[in-house]
Amino acid sequence: MKWTFFHRMSSPKWFYDFSGQCLPWVGLLALALVVTGLTWGLLFTPPDYLQGNSYRIIFLHVPSASLAMTIYVGLAVTAAIGFVWKIKLADMAVSCLAPIGASFCALALISGSIWGKPTWGTWWVWDARLTSMLILLFLYLGLIALREAIDSRETAARACAILAMVGVVNIPIIKFSVDWWNTLHQGATIKITTESSMAMEMLIPLLISIAGFYLFSLFVFLLRLRAEIISREQRTTWVKALLGAHS
């Protein structure tokens, strides 16, 4: 089997150089897509037949909620790989992903609440979708707190990996909560197997916006991870050489 790519990628120096090359492209593309998606969605799509203009929060809410879940899955997989193979870079990635995921999770909860007031008539209701999403936020906060609470980096990495694995069970619960139980939250609008229940002129800006948010969080993730690499590897010769070259 060819493990060389895997090993090379897990070297902090290689990753730092490689991500430095991707960073401006990811950033530019993210900016272009977010601006296009949000401007199109917020200003140029027609209003909804029933909700009028208040539905437009979907262009913020759906990308955030989707990212909050995707980032958690990515975090759990990275943490598991780091746990089994003891890869330093994996643990750095986990520590960078948690705050990003927590932010998007909070954004999804807040934007949903603002939409819920005019649409449902309440800010909050303890239905399965909203509650499981709140649990996701607490999982993220728990991961951040656990890492901060343990001084030894290796112990912290192990503890976080196990917590991340335990929490992953919540992801299918969030996703299918609207199908398994009676909830106030509606079912999924964007469907992969059947036709989405949204008019094309609203769906396209929404998909652009989702792609833009994904790239934006990739951009933020790379920025954070590069800073983390420099901070943790500051005693190595390559970082010293790099910093020496810059000063």
Binding site: D48, V166, A199, M202
Partner: protein, 168 residues
């Protein structure tokens, strides 16, 4: 793969399986408590508690909304396609409340099987479209006998939510 790595991988596998099974069992046991509301069919089958605060939900039956002339009192029927329950409410209804709309009401079920609500929330469905599309659909359905403008394309499914009607 080295033995120690295999061991760690198996440990993670066991944790994941254990947690999945445990949460599956807990969620199955709590099935009734996790459901946000009782459906009209459940209320009629006496599966819902009487004279206890709980939620009931369903689709407002078209033509069943009766408003009191001099107060905010209103009563209407909700259905999930199987059962029908009458709801009494005294208060301001959400903007999205209309006939054919899914709602979730908080209140008590009395002994005669009627629901007295203290709070009514509108349940939104997952369909989004511009008003012109809705008008076109209404026009296409105008030959049929529908009383209210926007129910034309909707039908009621068993979950008490609204689903777009199959093209006939």
């Amino acid at each position: 793969m080295k033995a120690v790595r295999k061991q760690r991988l198996m440990l993670l596998g066991f944790i994941a399986c254990g947690v999945a099974i445990a949460s599956g069992l807990i969620l199955t046991a709590l099935q009734e408590n996790i459901n946000l509301y009782f459906s009209p069919a459940q209320m009629q089958a006496s599966e819902a508690p009487l004279e206890t605060r709980m939620r009931g939900g369903g689709v407002v039956v078209p033509g069943s909304v009766k408003r009191d002339e001099s107060s905010l009192k209103v009563n209407f029927q909700i259905t999930d396609g199987e059962g029908v329950v009458t709801v009494h409410y005294d208060g301001i209804l959400p903007d999205l409340f209309r006939e054919g709309q899914g709602i979730v009401a908080m209140g008590e079920l009395d002994k005669t099987g009627e629901f007295h609500a203290t709070e009514v929330l509108a349940k939104h469905d997952e369909t989004y479209m511009p008003p012109e599309v809705q008008d076109a659909i209404d026009k296409a359905h105008s030959g049929k006998n529908y009383s209210e403008k926007s129910e034309g394309y909707r039908s009621v499914n068993t979950k008490g939510t609204l689903a777009p009607e199959q093209k006939s």
